[in-house]
């Protein structure tokens, strides 16, 4: 039984220029303790997916279909009360740009304390020591003193550790990590990802890692879900995805990522740009950019059933 | 104005019903300011001793005052003076304040110190009292009212401009401008200053209302504009003494006009900012 099973998730945004069909029948699943990566470029809808699951979408957004069953409860149709009971305690999230995700005028230790009081039912007396413990667990040096620090006094890496402490305070079974290391140095990135891996392993916590960095996903995820323009195009165990990408977009993405041994000429570019998500869209949103396009590609794609094997949403896979 | 700009203007005005209401009121006021004197049914200065203190009627929609002058005409004609004072003082304040503030924000050092100290000094006074003082010292004239109102509003603009310029000073495009050969002055004038303006438009609009109230307030206590020149503040002052004896219309209508004008300006604030901020243009 998967911990989280997302099926047919569709989301629309109402904007002044029309309706943006941000997500179209997105589906995937995560099992307990598993780390799954959602990889895609900007505009692919990966953050929107996470925000939909957490039900923290912008008011202009509307979930027009689908289910996200987490531990028996469909998060998309649950009441606000039921969601509040899950958010923070069983299901939590860390964001990009940690400094802006923390309250700038409240000491970090206190922010952790707030979560503990609200969701973990820790008594007022025990809150401070528990918060300091958490700061130590995320390897912040001198946690006793850093309890009183404000976010602006900490480096980006440390702020991210604080956010991880906040997210993990109540021992959730699923962590959504939305580009947690973008903007951080590569050495800090490695340290933060190691921390998340270690903590996840120790607590048997599942992680949904959202990133545009294929290399990062390759290193830390057991399975990868590739998204393009609001569609899931491919889903596979990591090794299989890289050894044998079946969707043309996945193959192109891998070929476009700089790596040692590949020269500039060999680096692939993906022609065209993201389709305009307002207005009429073809059945396969990648088809305008695909060199393998054939007339039968205009047939509506089948719903990608979340499964553990290697699935691809393409009529002419590689 | 290009076609795109006009289209954008129309979009901004019609998107939000409040902006539309405010805009319509503004157009009406501007119209009255421009042609009010020609449209007024009676000569606002002509007294008619046979018709004093008459309540609103078909002949005199707003009634007449203690000298028999038609109130409707007086209110309409006063529009021009009040609008002129409001716009001119805010324009003056905005121009001088934003430039001084932007220079202070970009150059720092002594420029900033001087500008800040002057602003602080002005803000240390209760602003209306300061305006009174300036007009009393310089003499009663429309120009002095405009000057006084402009002076007391300076600090709002210098502060905002300074903060905006300070932030933008570090922006990539400012560095790029330097690399392109723009001198410091040119960078300030062409790149930094125009980008500081959009946030200040809201402030300017709110200021219009405040400037108008200020001028009316000064006139109410006998400074600045003097009777018999029709000006809403004076009209309210003249009517104030008649409220208790039951002639409510002499003070009410000018007061209402004043209120509606200020209300209109306040509503315009956001609309104006949307109008000139290119980021909102799609």
């Amino acid at each position: 039984m998967p911990l989280l099973s997302v099926e047919g998730l569709s989301v629309e945004f109402r904007t002044r220029d029309g309706i943006v069909k941000a997500l179209d029948r997105v589906g995937f699943e995560i099992r307990r303790g598993e780390t799954v990566g959602v990889v895609g470029e900007s505009g692919s809808g990966k953050s929107v997916t996470a925000f939909s699951i957490m039900r923290i979408l912008d008011p202009a957004a509307r979930i027009t279909g689908g289910r996200a069953v987490f531990d028996g409860l469909d998060l998309l149709s649950a009441t606000e009360r039921e969601i509040e009971g899950r958010r923070g305690r069983h299901l939590s999230m860390i964001f990009q740009n940690p400094r802006t995700a923390l309250n700038p005028i409240r000491q970090v230790g206190r922010q952790i304390g707030d979560v503990l009081l609200r969701h973990a039912g820790v008594s007022r007396g025990a809150v401070r020591s528990r918060a300091v413990e958490l700061l130590a667990q995320v390897q912040i040096p001198d946690p006793e003193r850093r309890y009183w620090a404000y976010p602006f006094e900490l480096s980006g890496g440390m702020c991210q550790r604080v956010m991880i402490a906040l997210a993990l305070a109540c021992g959730p079974s699923l962590l959504l990590a939305d580009e947690p290391t973008t903007g951080l140095d590569v050495t800090t990135q490695a340290a933060i990802m190691d921390l998340i891996d270690d903590l996840a392993r120790a607590r048997r916590m599942a992680t949904l890692l959202i990133t545009h960095d294929l290399g990062l996903a390759a290193l830390h995820c057991e399975r990868i879900v590739v998204m393009h323009a609001g569609h899931v195009v491919e889903s596979a165990p990591t090794a299989a995805l890289f050894a044998n990408p079946r969707h043309p977009y996945t193959a192109k993405l891998i070929a476009a990522t700089p790596k040692p041994g590949v020269s500039l000429d060999e680096l692939a570019a993906i022609p065209g740009g993201l389709p305009d998500l307002r207005g009429a869209l073809p059945a396969c949103r990648y088809s305008p950019r695909c060199e393998r396009y054939a007339p039968f590609c205009d047939e509506p794609l089948p719903l990608l059933v979340p499964a553990s094997g290697h699935t691809v949403a393409c009529w002419k896979p590689l | 104005m290009t076609a795109a700009a006009l289209r954008h203007a129309r979009y901004v005005v019609t998107e939000n019903p409040i902006t539309l209401v405010a805009f319509s009121m503004l157009v009406t006021l501007l119209f009255l300011a421009l042609v009010g004197p020609a449209l007024a049914p009676y000569d606002p200065l002509k007294s008619d001793t046979a018709n004093t203190l008459k309540p609103p009627s078909a002949r005199h929609w707003f009634g007449t005052d203690q000298l028999g002058r038609d109130m409707l005409s007086r209110v309409m004609v006063a529009t021009r003076l009040d609008m002129a004072i409001a716009f001119l003082s805010v324009a003056l304040s905005f121009a001088v304040g934003s430039l001084a503030g932007a220079c202070a924000g970009v150059f720092g050092g002594w420029t900033e110190r001087i500008v800040s100290r002057i602003s602080d000094t002005i803000m240390a006074f209760p602003l209306f009292v300061l305006a009174m003082g300036i007009v009393a010292a310089l003499g009663n004239s429309v120009f002095n009212v405009i000057l006084a109102t402009a002076i007391i509003n300076l600090p709002f603009y210098t502060r905002m401009a300074r903060a905006e310029a300070n932030v933008r000073r570090e922006a990539g495009y400012v560095e790029a401008a330097r690399l392109s050969g723009n001198s410091t002055m040119r960078t300030l004038a062409v790149h930094i200053y125009p980008n500081c303006l959009p946030p200040m438009m809201v402030q300017a609009s709110l200021n219009l209302g405040w400037a108008m109230l200020n001028a009316a307030g000064l006139a109410f206590i006998g400074l600045g504009v003097r009777p018999p020149t029709p000006e809403w503040g004076i009209l309210v002052a003249e009517g104030a003494s008649f409220i208790l004896s039951g002639e409510w219309w002499i003070a009410l209508f000018p007061g209402l006009a004043l209120m509606l004008a200020v209300f209109c300006f306040n509503l315009m604030g956001d609309g104006l900012r949307d109008l000139i901020d290119p980021r909102r243009r799609t």
Binding site: P141, T187, A190, L241, K252, L264 | E175, G181, T184, N195
Partner: protein
Amino acid sequence: MDTLLEVASVSKRFPVTVKGAARGSEHFLQAVDDVSFSIGRGECVGLVGESGCGKSTLVKLITRLLDTSDGRIWFDGQDIGTVPADGFASVPQRALIQMVFQDPTDSLNPRFTAFDTIADPIRRLGGIRGSRNVSERVLALGDMVGLPRELLGRYPHQLSGGQKQRVGIARAVALEPRLLVLDEPTSALDVSVQAVILKLLDDLRRRLGMSYLFVSHDLNVVRLLADRVLVMYLGRIVERGPVSLVFERPRHPYTRALLSCIPDPGGGAAGRRIRLSGEPRSPIDPDPKVCRFYGRCPDGHDRCAQEMPLLRPVGAEHLAACHLA
């Protein structure tokens, strides 16, 4: 090789106030410390380092947006360090040293159309008179960087990231500079667009005969374009040499740690990733006798805390600043 840019012992200090320090005491943040290197004509030199290493400050010093505290900078044989940054806009070398910025949104004036942005340097320093001539040049530049002509009338918020970056590149090459500093030009772009922009940059370099200083934290990208690379840490250059040598046989422990942390998109195992412990040393009033990397360095001897290691040769044109290299 014919040298275009020569940087000799350049340093930059910023005065700072330190909480709890004695009154009247002066404290300085050493952003760039005794940096020396050169760039040859037509060469692409990479500059790598993490946040706080001083590469942004070094870039500002080289492009003369900031004055040095110490050291000299020669460009094409002329000492440009002596001209103050404020007055550099009117010096002939201004047109010859240009920059492409990291954040395409922040580096374009929101009130200027793409056309105006590209035309600005031409109007200021291009020596071209007449709006039609300027127009012609802007159109030519737009074509050179692959920007469709109909986009020239748009404002930045109406352009995509890749398009904005092309505008930035067109602006930077408008004056045909000899040295182009590229400050993380693709890090804000999607990987699909990145490849196109990188190829464009490479192509432009050959076509216009420019030298590049390519600043990036992404070593995989630096590897693609650079001939030589400089590694910076806390204001000092800790290693420099040909790209292949430095990346395959790094001699400084920091370079080794940096290289080991790069995720491999091939999906292969990470190999032994060197984890760096602790926080970097403070750049404020650093001790000139202690190696900046001491404390975080996985190797470390007493000598490292008594004598600052200087760059010394460890291979063909390959230098590292480490006692243990």
